[in-house]
């Protein structure tokens, strides 16, 4: 039978539009023709989903939201790429800006004393931003996700308490340790000693993707705790290992020389 005829026959069968004799013949055919039987099931399902107008509309909204979400993520990436291009094109402008900046810096050095360790900490400390690369084995995902959620919402006190519990449950998990340290560094008042302990643990273990970030934050803690030499040696180590933190390592090293 021609395809179109088969389709129409199946539709008539599903819609109850076959005569008694046609129905008998068709059901007889269904018992022997496996392929036809499968096609009837498929059509039945297709009819079901198209007839369910509300869910179809909802899924359409979800598909569009996904598209918007990825487009806006890509737009951010492109905007970063564009910024890079602009930066390259403005090479000479930057050279001039650096000259002006250095002149101002020299003038300031003459006029004002070097910034204190506390000021340097405030100048260089930024909360660690979570991105899509967050990975790692976690034993209690529900708790972990809740804690991450709190961290992202800036509720660092509560995030810190939850990461503390998670760390106690699983000492070997460096992701928990890293976020516990980050949360305590952002809460009020900051708990430098607890953060330091966690960063040191991550650095000693040495396998986590957060080792260099831990070193960076550890150097800032050393600075704020008045241990300039330790801060400098950690920064030099970071520099040697090629972790520049967008030039911040060098800048801070320069300021520590002063």
């Amino acid at each position: 039978m021609h395809d179109q005829k088969i389709y129409e026959k199946i539709e008539a069968y599903l819609n109850g539009n076959l005569s008694a004799s046609e129905l008998n013949d068709f059901e007889e055919q269904l018992r022997t023709d496996e392929e036809l039987a499968e096609q009837v099931v498929l059509f039945k399902d297709i009819h079901f989903v198209i007839e369910d107008e509300d869910t179809l509309k909802f899924q359409h909204i979800v598909e569009n939201s996904e598209k918007d979400y990825f487009e806006s993520s890509n737009a951010n990436t492109h905007s970063n790429l564009d910024s890079n291009k602009i930066r390259r094109n403005l090479k000479w402008f930057i050279v001039m800006a650096v000259i002006v900046f250095l002149s101002v810096l020299i003038w300031n050095r003459i006029q004002h004393p070097a910034p204190s360790n506390q000021e340097l900490f405030a100048l260089y400390f930024e909360p660690f931003v979570i991105n899509d690369d967050l990975r790692g084995p976690t034993k209690d995902e529900n708790q972990f996700i809740k804690a991450i959620d709190l961290y992202q919402e800036g509720r660092f006190d509560q995030a810190s308490a939850m990461f503390n519990t998670l760390t106690e449950q699983d000492h070997s998990n460096m992701i928990y340790a890293f976020y516990l340290a980050n949360s305590t560094l952002n809460q009020t008042p900051r708990d430098f000693d607890l953060a330091k302990k966690q960063y040191e643990k991550i650095i000693t273990e040495g396998k986590s993707i957060y080792v260099s970030d831990s070193k960076w934050y550890l150097s800032l803690i050393a600075l704020v705790q008045g241990n300039k030499n330790l801060a400098r040696s950690i920064l030099l180590e970071l520099q040697k290992q090629g972790h520049h933190k967008n030039g911040k390592v060098q800048n801070l090293l320069d300021q520590l020389k002063e």
């Binding site: 509300d54 979400y69 995902e141 809740k146």
Partner: protein, 191 residues
Amino acid sequence: MSTKKLSPKEYIDGIRKGNPEIIKGIYEKYHPAIVHLVETKHGTKDDANDVFKEGLVLIYQKSQKPEFQLSNTFLTYFYAVCKNIWSNKLRKKTNQEITLDQKTLLIVKDDSPRDLDKNEKYFLYRRMFLQLGSDCQKVLEMFLRKSSMSEIMDEMGYGSISYTKKRKFLCKKKLVQLIQSHPSFKELTTP
């Protein structure tokens, strides 16, 4: 979406009504968490994207029932739903029994593997339908929502009933081809 923290009820109401702003907000807030969940359990980002959408559709359908109530935070609930969906897919992929933790089991106790399979299959069919051109979507929708061939012909501006029937057939054939050529089709329709 505003940065205001939403209550579980506000999330569910937003899903129930298909509010695009709420859906967008759920993407922004929870998509990374679901990617993390799937990627740490042998899945890819694409798997995670499907799980995320299937989870939303499943919650939408549940939210239509008057007795539906949320006794957890939205994140806890959504995470458990997605975890169950992914475990079910993984179970089929690896042919191994996957055990869920007690907390997740308690939240998703009403969703049997059979329900999840059905949800996954219908999700795929809807997705393929949405890939058809808008004319095809409209013809099939009108036909299956019991419009007559002459009504479809008038609405679509086709020249004759036989041409309308032909168009309806071609649209449906296209949809069947899209569904049957999808890599998941066989797995989803094998009992």
